[in-house]
């Protein structure tokens, strides 16, 4: 008994010794050699935010260039590099590692009552691999840029482009290992390190979404690895596998690439769905409606994600039969997504909703994901996609999913767990201003692009017809509001580190395990090893009474 405590007792455990994971040891070296999942999570957090900043700067440059037709601030080849680097930085440096590697790393062990992930040193290795990969990508920027688009399509990437494709793709290759190791670590941790009483169906739903994400990371990423390796060899040694002049098949590259990159879309969105679930449950002060439905819909999305890659290739010369099958399968993704949507709404229904800052992000997520998800159905339909393919409609659709859903959920999670991670409260009013500008700016920028797309504006074009100019300019103005919103959010969070009030253990009245330990947590996570006696999101009897 001495070393264990039920969750109920944990909540009343006396205040801590003043030591926590942040001040246990000091110095840069103690961080670089740490195996503490919380410190690794924080280092990932800082790194992905740097990646987000980098991708964001390129985004603003791209939008600025598109303010007018022809040249505004850069020439066509610089423009090609700007949108490539925007995409590559956002996808590989930010979104893929964002929620799992930062918030997931920090909270997965806390939420199951464990002291760490199963393989702490592998966890640190994964961070180092991410950094090494990022260095290769940054080296590509310095040594000539990349202008292939983030998808690295051949034969342009393998032969025609004169930019640093090898350095960039090698960076992505290395970061793939980082992603695999994180996924592998999470799967084993969830199987082997759940606290006594923490059965699978008592896990917070964020962890179910991370579990589904990890499965995709482990199964899909190796295929990207071999694809990029073949691309690098193709470019360096002309091995001919993707080169049509040597008998190779460029469409094979697209199959390989999307076999990873479509599931990767769910690596990006599933953790966001998990974060949204936590925020909505906490701030409506009730148990999640349809727990198992949400849990299994995450797993279902992960499985279906492997069967739909061909919908990226409807106009790539794929046979009509395969296109029809892929289109049919694509609609299956809508079922588990819809199941989630209705269960989230069911959770809000009858709850005592509080509009905290994280909750604003949570509700924005529901709104934006509904738009992003439903416009996906337009694109999954063959006849409609023929017209919308490679237009701004596609750009708007995936920004509503990637940015409007995943990034909004990420920032919601950041605000939700910021007091726990840093031990500081932020200025909620300033955070609300940041949120409002982000939300307005986002819709301003990207809803405009739905209209541009339906009117036929192709994506990735440097120049355009005069008739598109007003809408392009409107979208660019929105991007400035959006950028300001994020800037205010960053200032708000950074300021809290210096001037924020100390955070209590449970500022939002959360029901999951991470709120039962101090803010910030001690290195061992819990004073006493927890024993779980309650279901997920169930509150002890005296609180609910």
């Amino acid at each position: 008994m001495a070393n264990t405590a039920t969750v109920d007792e944990l909540g009343h455990s006396p205040a801590v010794r003043g030591k926590n994971y942040l001040n246990q040891t000091a110095g840069v070296w103690s961080w670089l050699t740490t195996v503490d999942h919380k410190r690794i999570g924080i280092m990932y957090l800082v790194s992905v935010l740097v990646g987000f900043g980098l991708g964001g700067i390129f985004a603003l440059l791209v939008r600025l260039e598109l303010l007018t037709a022809k040249k505004t601030i850069m020439d066509a080849s610089q423009y090609n590099q700007a949108f490539t680097l925007h995409g590559a930085a956002m996808v590989f440096l930010f979104i893929i590692p964002s929620i799992p590697a930062s918030l997931g790393n920090f909270f997965l062990p806390l939420m199951i009552g464990a002291k760490d992930v199963a393989f702490p040193r592998l966890n640190l290795l994964s961070l180092y691999l991410y950094w090494i990969g990022a260095i290769f990508m940054l080296a590509a920027i310095v040594t000539g840029g990349v202008d292939t688009g983030w998808t690295f399509y051949v034969p342009y990437a393998s032969g025609v482009s004169t930019t640093s494709v090898i350095s960039a793709t090698f960076g992505v290759f290395v970061m793939g290992f980082s992603s695999i190791l994180t996924g592998l670590n999470f799967i084993v941790t969830l199987h082997k390190l759940r606290a006594p009483g923490m059965s699978w169906y008592r896990m917070p739903l964020f962890l179910w979404s991370l579990y589904a994400t990890s499965i995709i990371q482990v199964l899909a990423t190796p295929v990207l690895g071999i694809t990029l390796l073949l691309l690098i060899f193709e470019r360096a040694f002309h091995i001919g596998i993707f080169d049509p002049t040597l008998g190779g098949d460029p469409v094979l590259f697209q199959h390989f690439f999307w076999f990873y990159s479509h599931p990767a879309v769910y690596i990006m969105i599933l953790p966001g769905m998990g974060v949204a679930t936590e925020i909505l449950a906490t701030n409506s002060q009730r148990r999640v409606f349809g727990y198992k439905a949400i849990a299994f819909s995450s797993v279902a999305i992960a499985l279906v994600s492997f069967l739909v890659w061909g919908h990226h290739m409807f106009v790539s010369g794929q046979s009509e039969l395969s296109s029809a099958i892929f289109s049919f399968l694509t609609f299956f993704v809508a079922i588990p997504s819809g199941v989630k949507m209705f269960n989230w709404l069911g959770t809000l229904w009858g709850g005592s909703i509080r509009f905290t800052v994280p909750m604003l992000y949570g509700i924005a997520f529901l709104f934006l994901f509904a738009i992003g998800g439903l416009t996906g159905l337009f694109l999954g339909m063959l006849s409609v996609d023929l017209h919308l393919h490679d237009t701004y409609f596609v750009v708007a659709h995936f920004h509503y999913v990637m940015m409007g859903s995943t990034a909004i959920a990420f920032f919601g999670g950041l605000h939700h767990w910021w007091p726990k991670m840093t031990g500081k409260m932020y200025d909620e009013n300033l955070a609300r201003v940041g949120f409002a500008l982000t939300f307005i700016g986002f819709n301003w920028t990207f809803f405009t692009q739905f209209i541009l797309g339906t009117r036929g504006m192709p994506r990735r074009y440097y120049n355009y017809l005069d008739q598109f100019q007003p809408l392009h300019a409107f979208s660019t103005y929105g991007s400035w509001v959006l950028g300001t919103g994020f800037l205010i959010t960053f200032i708000c969070l950074a300021r809290s580190l210096k001037t924020g009030a100390p955070a209590p253990a449970d500022p939002w009245g959360g029901a999951t395990l991470e709120w039962k330990t101090a803010s910030p947590p001690i290195t061992e996570n819990f004073e006493k090893a927890p024993i779980v006696t309650l279901d997920a999101y169930e509150r002890p009897a005296e609180e609910t009474a």
Binding site: A114, V117, P120, V223, L230, H238, G240, G248, D249
Partner: protein, 226 residues
């Protein structure tokens, strides 16, 4: 009672070497071993998917350029490939025996078996070296580097692209495997393993069997059926 003894249930403690300790985040040694084993199996899944891409490319190009593949595969040396297959299967057998002897506390036998495994791996690479230099000499090279004359069919370069990528990546795995086998051989010499703790030997063994298994598919596909 020490934390370790408590975690192992006291009586089991003596069977572990003094260097071993249960990592602080595991409740007991068996959980730690299970977690390690599960991690390795998951890693092997990623390996299968990595090679899966290449097998997929092989299947597609074989059906696309069937005559080229038939013609080109006659230029692979079946005898050398066959020898390597026997060498690698034998090494998998000695690896399995090494895991068994580690479980039975037979340290000396484990060392010998691991050394034989290592020697087989080295021999595999030597044979591979002769095969490669022969191919390079004859200009039987991937895609744009293909220079061999008198080929009747159109795209033998694609076959050799697949051949070199598949056997090359497999060869890298053999080299990594040799490093791992050497590592557990040295740890075995330091008396780190026992019937209570042999997880690293078993896990390296799992990896080595996968390396063997991949070759068992590569050999018939590339050398025999063309």
């Amino acid at each position: 009672m020490s934390a370790k003894a408590e975690a192992l249930g006291g009586a089991e403690e003596s069977k572990l070497s003094p260097q071993f300790h249960v990592a602080h985040h595991f409740d007991k040694a068996d959980t730690q071993f299970d977690a390690g084993r599960m991690g390795v199996w998951l890693f092997l899944v990623t390996e299968i998917l990595l090679f899966g891409g290449l097998f997929c490319a092989f299947a597609i190009f074989r059906s696309k350029y069937f005559p080229s593949f038939v013609e080109a595969h006659h230029h692979l040396d079946r005898v050398m490939g066959g020898i390597n297959t026997i060498v690698l299967i034998s090494s998998s057998f000695t690896m399995a025996l090494a895991v068994r002897s580690a479980q039975k506390n037979e340290k000396k036998k484990t060392t010998i078996l691991l050394a034989i495994t290592l020697a087989c791996a080295a021999m595999f690479l030597v044979v591979k070296y002769f095969e490669y230099s022969h191919k390079i000499h004859d200009g039987l090279l991937p895609g744009g580097n293909f220079t061999a004359a008198d080929f009747a069919s159109g795209h033998p370069g694609i076959f050799f692209a697949i051949y070199f990528m598949m056997t090359g990546i497999h060869g890298v795995h053999v080299v990594i495997g040799m490093g791992l086998i050497l590592w557990i051989l040295l740890r075995n010499q330091k008396n780190e393993f026992s019937s209570r703790y042999y997880a690293p030997v078993e896990n390296v063994g799992l990896y080595w069997h996968l390396v063997d298994l991949v070759w068992i598919y590569l050999f018939p596909l590339l050398y025999l059926v063309g």
